[in-house]
Symmetry: C2
Amino acid sequence: MPDDTLDETAKQILKAASRRFLHYGYGKTTMSEIAKDCNMSTGNLYRYFPSKLDIAEMFVRVLRRDQLAQLRDIADTSGVTPADKLRAFLVAKFQLAYERFHDKPKAFELSSSLLSERPKIAVEWEEMERQVLAGILREGDQIDAFAIDDPDAIAKTLLDAAYRFTSAAVFHEGEFGALEAELQGIVDLALDGFAWRKAKKHQMAPVA
Amino acid sequence: MPDDTLDETAKQILKAASRRFLHYGYGKTTMSEIAKDCNMSTGNLYRYFPSKLDIAEMFVRVLRRDQLAQLRDIADTSGVTPADKLRAFLVAKFQLAYERFHDKPKAFELSSSLLSERPKIAVEWEEMERQVLAGILREGDQIDAFAIDDPDAIAKTLLDAAYRFTSAAVFHEGEFGALEAELQGIVDLALDGFAWRKAKKHQMAPVA
DNA sequence: CTATTGAACGTTTTATATAGTAATCAGAGG
DNA sequence: CCTCTGATTACTATATAAAACGTTCAATAG
C-alpha cells in the first residue's frame, strides 16, 4: 500500500532518500541533501512528508511489505504440508533477520532508529506475521495434521520460542548454519508436541 | 569459591565496593571512594585486585553463585517429577532475569558492564546452567519420563526456546504474569514434544 | 622484605562552545 | 489561488577544553 498512494514528487523524494539511507545511513543523510538530489528546496520536502522520520518509515514499510509477502508466499504454497510450511516460515524469518543484521548494516541501523522512535510499528508487524503463522496452524488443524485450539495463541508461543533467532534486536553471534540448526531443534520439538496433542485428541474423543 | 580464597583486606574492599555498586552503580563508583571507605589509598587496592572491573567481577560471581545454587536446588529436590523440575527451572530462571531487570537496576547495569567487557563469563554461566538443566533431562530419561538421546543438546534447545524470557539482555515489557504465561506455553509444548518422543520410542522398540 | 602511600601519567568522561540540522513560515513566482 | 523558496528559529550533534578517573610506581613506613 505505501508506495501507491504517493504522487510523483513524493516518490521522487522517497527514491532519493532511500539511496542515501542505504549508502550513508539515516543519521548521515540530511534533508538538504535529499532536497538537492531532487532539485528542490528543503521546505518543499515538508509538503510531501511531515518529517524526516516519516520518509524513513515509508522506506522501511516498503522493505517490510516485500518480506511479509515472502512469508505469505510460504503460507500459500500448495502441495506442502503445514509442518513444512511452519518450518519454512520460521527459517525464512530467521534468514531475513540474519541478513538484515549481517549483510545490510545500514538498513539495520535505519530499522533500529525508526523502531526506537515508533515502537508501535514493530507491534503492527509482529501482529501481521503472527496472523500468517496462525493461518498455517489453522490449515494444519483443518487438515488434521495438528490439533490446535487457539491458532493465534500457539502462533505467539512459536514466535516466542523462535525469538532468539528471528528477532533482529538480538545479536546473532555464530555461523548461520549453526544457528539454523539450533532453530531446527526448536521446530522439531514443537512439531513433536503438536503430534502428541493430535494423538491425545484422537484417543480422548471416543472416551468422552 | 570466589569469596573464600580472599584474605580479610580483599573482603573488606569487596564489601565496600559492593555497597557503592548497589547504591550508585558501577560507573558512578570511583576507586578513590572505595579506598576512602576502607581507609586506604587507591594504590593499595591494586595489591588485592588487578582492576576495578575485577572487583565487579568478583561481586557478580558471588551473586550468580547463589542463583546457580537456587537452580541446583530445584534439580536436586526429591519427590518432584522431572517435568515439574524442568518447568520450575525455567520459571525460576525467568524470574531471576525479570527481577534483575525490573527491581535491581544497579545490579543489572553492573552485569551489563561486566559482560560487555568479559563476554566469556556469560558463556561460562550459560554452560553451568545448561548442565543443571541437562541433569534434569537425564534424570527424566532414566526414570523413563522422557526419551532423550542427547540431554546436553536438548537442554540447549530448551534454553534457546525460553531465551526471550530468560535472557537479561532482552527487554522484558509487559506484566510478570503475562510473560510467565507465555513461557508456560513454551514449556507445555516442549513437554508434549517429549511425551511424543517417548511414545514413539516405545512403539518402535518392539518393531526393531 | 612486605605493606602501604600518594603524586604522576595517560586515558576517559564531562562541561562548554561552536557548527550544523530539522522544521517553520512569510513571502515570491506562476 | 496553489506551489515552491530560502532565510530564520530552535534544537541537536560535533569539536574542543577542562576535569576526573583508573592505573602505575618510586618512595616511605613498619
